[in-house]
């Protein structure tokens, strides 16, 4: 029964209130949310003049009775929750009964609706919050909401609306974001009779990801699903090569709701780990499915923020799902390169089912069609060194360029890290201790965090004043400029808690960077072969510890295009 009730004052006062309508796109979001909550599988949005003229959302959902139609434009009138405790277990997108009255108060609105069990429908008109009429009318099952002349009665707000183009872009963005978690629903967006977007219902995710991220990105996506302690995590990860300097292509959903969340962003970044350069963000879509009582959505008026009850678990689950998924990408020296990984194929007909207790704990079936990376298929054939900086080699499907410093840095880093974790970094004593002048700050680090230094295989003795003697160093580090290395290294150790792994990682990165062969170093073929051989053993052979790429691959096809052999 679809009975809308006015929430008791006590419940209404607990709702995170605020202005929910600030621009046409937020009207679109609220109306689509309502259509989805009404169980529609076909939703058509029509806008005029960037939504400033008209926003019309039609659905084939369950519709409303005459009584409900009259109630739905009242404040705090909702069919979705009843008591205050319902607020802590919200299964629908809406829950506060605020959207329709808010839109009604700033536009000329028409609602036409017919529930399935009735032959006739009703139309209600309301302008600037004043009911102007309700009449019986013939209508298909479902609801059509038309909101025209947005902010017609608040000129100050109307003035702040942006150009038609800009508002249209916002609507398109909102539309694609909201549509993404519901591939079973057909969404359509028209602009004054012209179709901007048509998203037919589909049983897999690729078409919508293509719209959201572009076809090329969507096709190179790595997909994974995990269920960890009642928490469903589905990830769609673009290759790290396509990272951006802004986090604008990170899409996060909790139970079908698009949210922004610092913790989730951090978890995604951590999952990509050293595949990202400093200040870069990947392109990724993450769906979280969890018991609605484990997440508070009543945090922010726009419902775009949530609070997780077990945020640590959520964080860990995302990190481990992403780490596992990305670990499958291969080493371009021997296997296929990431952007040749076969595109999206899925067994899962409903990648993000509504949360239910009946989801098998075994997890969602693994995707079909994943090609296992071949074992070493063909050893790269070394062509030579370019500018004593890049190694060129011929691989099965084209040319591979390797940044020698980045590659060696990766090897140094993982070897140092392995030694560090087993507390056995090999330490070489120096024949002639190296004398160093430290700054007052550096001196303090050495004296206060001395135990850290020895864990890294560095022995520094105080000689007097600010002078120290470097007596022993990690055996892996050769040809290092000790002064500049130590000042960078000590700066990393200065901060943080004694057992902060992030600091150790950064310190090891500094070590690897200084110890690695540099650009400009002429390598013999044996050295190159040895480098490749070592690289093959690495956990992450594709990026240096700073996240820069180690390889650049040019397929014969790309080269042929370059030379216009093909067009």
């Amino acid at each position: 029964m679809n009975a809308i009730r006015i929430l008791p004052e006590k419940v209404a006062s607990q709702i995170a209130a605020g202005e929910v309508i600030d621009r046409p796109a937020s009207v679109v979001r609220e109306l689509i949310d309502n259509s989805i909550d009404a169980g529609a599988d076909r939703i058509v949005v029509r806008i005029e003049k960037g939504g400033k003229g008209l926003i019309k959302v039609s659905d084939n959902g369950k519709g409303m009775s005459r009584d409900d139609l009259l109630l739905c434009v009242e404040r705090h009138a909702t069919s979705k929750i009843e008591t205050a405790s319902d607020l802590f277990s919200i299964k629908s997108l809406g829950f506060r009964g605020e959207a329709l009255p808010s839109i009604a108060s700033v536009s000329r609105m028409k609602l036409t609706t017919r529930p399935k069990d009735r032959l006739e429908g009703h139309r209600l008109k309301i302008a600037g919050g004043k009911l102007t009429g309700i009449e019986e009318t013939g209508a298909p099952v479902g609801t059509v909401v038309e909101a025209g002349d947005l902010f017609f009665n608040i000129p100050a707000r109307r003035k702040f609306l942006r150009a038609v183009r800009t508002e249209t872009d916002h609507i398109i963005d909102t539309f694609t974001r909201v549509a993404l978690p519901f591939p079973g629903v057909n969404f359509k967006l028209d602009d004054a009779g012209k179709t901007l977007m048509n998203l037919p219902a589909s049983d897999h995710q690729l078409p919508r990801l293509s719209v959201l991220l572009g076809r090329k990105v969507a096709e190179s996506i790595t997909e994974a699903q995990e269920r960890i302690h009642e928490l469903g995590v589905s990830v769609y990860l673009a290759p790290w090569e396509l990272s951006r300097t802004r986090g604008d292509r990170l899409y996060v959903y909790v139970n079908g709701r698009n949210i922004r969340d610092r913790l989730v962003t951090k978890a995604i970044m951590e999952g990509y780990g050293q595949r990202l350069m400093k200040g870069h963000y990947p392109q990724a879509v993450i769906f979280l499915e969890m018991d609605p009582s484990k997440v508070d959505v009543n945090v922010h008026p726009t419902k775009q923020e949530v609070r997780f009850h077990n945020s640590r678990d959520v964080f860990q689950a995302i990190v481990s799902t992403i780490e596992k998924a990305l670990a499958r990408s291969s080493n371009p020296l021997y296997g296929q390169v990431p952007d040749q990984v076969p595109s999206f194929v899925s067994d899962v007909s409903e990648p993000f089912p509504e949360f239910s207790q009946h989801v098998p704990t075994q997890g969602i079936p693994a995707r079909a069609g994943v090609v296992e990376q071949p074992a070493i298929s063909e050893i790269p054939q070394i062509i030579g060194q370019l500018g004593n900086t890049y190694i060129l080699c011929q691989v099965k499907d084209g040319l591979l360029m390797v940044d020698q410093h980045a590659a060696h840095e990766r090897i140094m880093y993982e070897n140092l890290k392995k030694g560090f974790n087993n507390s056995r970094i090999e330490v070489q004593a120096l024949l002639m201790p190296h004398k160093l002048e430290l700054s007052a700050k550096e001196k303090r680090v050495v004296q206060e965090k001395g135990e850290r230094l020895s864990r890294f295989g560095i022995e520094l003795d105080h000689f007097g004043g600010n002078t120290f003697l470097l007596r022993a160093v990690p055996a892996l580090l050769e040809n290092v400029e000790w002064d500049s290395f130590l000042s960078e290294f000590l700066a990393e150790l200065e901060e943080g808690e004694p057992e902060d792994n992030a600091i150790f990682d950064r310190a090891l990165t500094v070590m690897a960077c200084h110890g690695a062969i540099r650009a400009g170093y002429r390598m013999t073929n044996e050295e190159i072969t040895h480098l490749f051989y070592q690289l093959e053993e690495m956990d992450l052979p594709t990026n240096c510890p700073h996240g820069r790429p180690i390889f650049k691959h040019f397929t014969y096809y790309e080269i042929e295009k370059m030379f216009k052999r093909v067009v």
């Binding site: 056995r424 330490v427 070489q428 024949l431 002639m432 055996a475 050769e478 540099r518 170093y521």
Partner: protein
């Protein structure tokens, strides 16, 4: 210029300068050899601007003059030929004609006057050294020089004059900061060598010098104006010395060792090589423990496993333990000639000292690794 010359003899000179001429330089002229004909000889020069090599070879001079020609191509042409005689003739517009009577080559060349002039320091006082001794000195030190990487300080062999009561001797020392090798050899008339407080000879120059010296016979060497000059028969090498200062190494040479252990060199060398099998990285320590006339060597690789070998030695003192990079032992032992080497120890934090009866004047130091 036009000459006729014995092919074998020219080939020998051309092949020895292959290591000097730059193949990848951005100055194309450095990949060429300069040939100058005058009187009854031609002189052949090659340089990479750090090292210059010049040799005079007798030839039939038809017409005097100079040409440059690709060092690599000339080498290949001479090598493929089986004839005795070879003809080189300058043609117009920087073309040169080469022929062994059978095959004929026209090669483009660069103008000879653009060839970097070869500054041979004047009035260098030269001292005669036995080539074999010079070669030994180089062989016993050069491996300790740091791998050459752009601008690294120690990439040379420090050479100095050491005064002694009965005269002086010539000393060469090299180190990469982890080990050091040093050799002293008596030298007559060493006083006339202008070595100042010692010079740094670059590694590449040292190996060129070694080529000259290893043929045996007397070599003249001298130093002047930041250059080292070496002459042998009709060949001359001039190389620029490194500006870098060599650290004060005297302090690190132990005055006396606490324990001295006599070991068969070949057995130790072979054992160290076996230790390397389990450490495919250059930096892994082998642990040495010595007591009761036994030296135990263990190398552990967390990924692969462990290797162990025991050796008979002469030692009855307290148990000694220390870790070392086996590669450093291998390098040093390989350069030594003695059947038995003496390993000197002080404690696990001081360097191990290597000496041998048949390696007169030689001292090797290897710094331990922490266990």
């Amino acid at each position: 210029m036009e000459i006729r010359i014995d092919r074998e003899q020219l080939l020998k000179s051309v092949s020895r300068v292959q290591s000097i001429i730059e193949r990848k330089s951005n100055m194309p002229i450095l990949s060429t050899i300069l040939l100058t004909a005058s009187g009854k000889n031609i002189s052949l020069s090659a340089t990479d601007l750090e090292i210059g090599f010049k040799q005079t070879i007798p030839a039939d001079i038809v017409k005097e003059g100079s040409i440059t020609v690709s060092g690599r191509k000339l080498f290949e042409i001479l090598k493929e030929s089986t004839k005795d005689n070879f003809q080189i003739k300058e043609k117009e517009n920087n073309w040169v004609f080469l022929s062994d009577g059978l095959a004929r080559f026209d090669l483009a060349c660069l103008a000879a006057d653009e060839y970097p002039s070869f500054i041979e320091p004047e009035d260098v006082s030269m001292v005669e050294v036995d080539g074999e001794i010079l070669s030994e000195m180089i062989n016993k030190t050069i491996y300790s020089v740091t791998v050459e990487e752009a601008g690294f300080k120690l990439s040379g062999v420090f050479t100095e004059k050491v005064d002694n009561e009965g005269g002086g001797f010539l000393r060469m020392v090299a180190t990469d900061g982890h080990r050091l090798s040093m050799i002293d050899k008596d030298l007559i008339k060493i006083d006339s060598l202008d070595l100042g407080s010692g010079v740094m000879i670059p590694k590449k120059g040292m190996s060129e010098l070694n080529k000259l010296a290893s043929e045996g016979g007397p070599v003249q060497i001298g130093f002047k104006q930041k250059n080292c000059v070496a002459k042998k028969d009709n060949a001359l090498i001039v190389m620029r010395l490194l500006e870098a200062k060599f650290p004060d190494y005297h302090a690190v040479i132990p005055k006396e060792e606490k324990y001295s252990i006599k070991v068969n060199k070949i057995s130790l060398l072979e054992a160290m090589r076996k230790m390397l099998i389990l450490s495919n990285e250059r930096y892994r320590a082998v642990k040495i423990a010595i007591e009761n006339d036994t030296m135990e060597m263990v190398s552990t690789n967390p990924d692969l496993g462990e290797a162990q070998e025991n050796m008979q030695v002469e030692y009855r003192g307290e148990r000694l333990e220390a870790g070392f990079n086996p590669r450093y032992f291998i390098d040093t032992l390989q350069s030594m000639e003695s059947e038995f080497v003496l390993l000197g120890f002080i404690d696990e934090s001081k360097p191990c000292i290597l000496k041998g009866d048949a390696d007169k004047g030689f001292l090797g130091l290897i710094m331990p690794m922490r266990l």
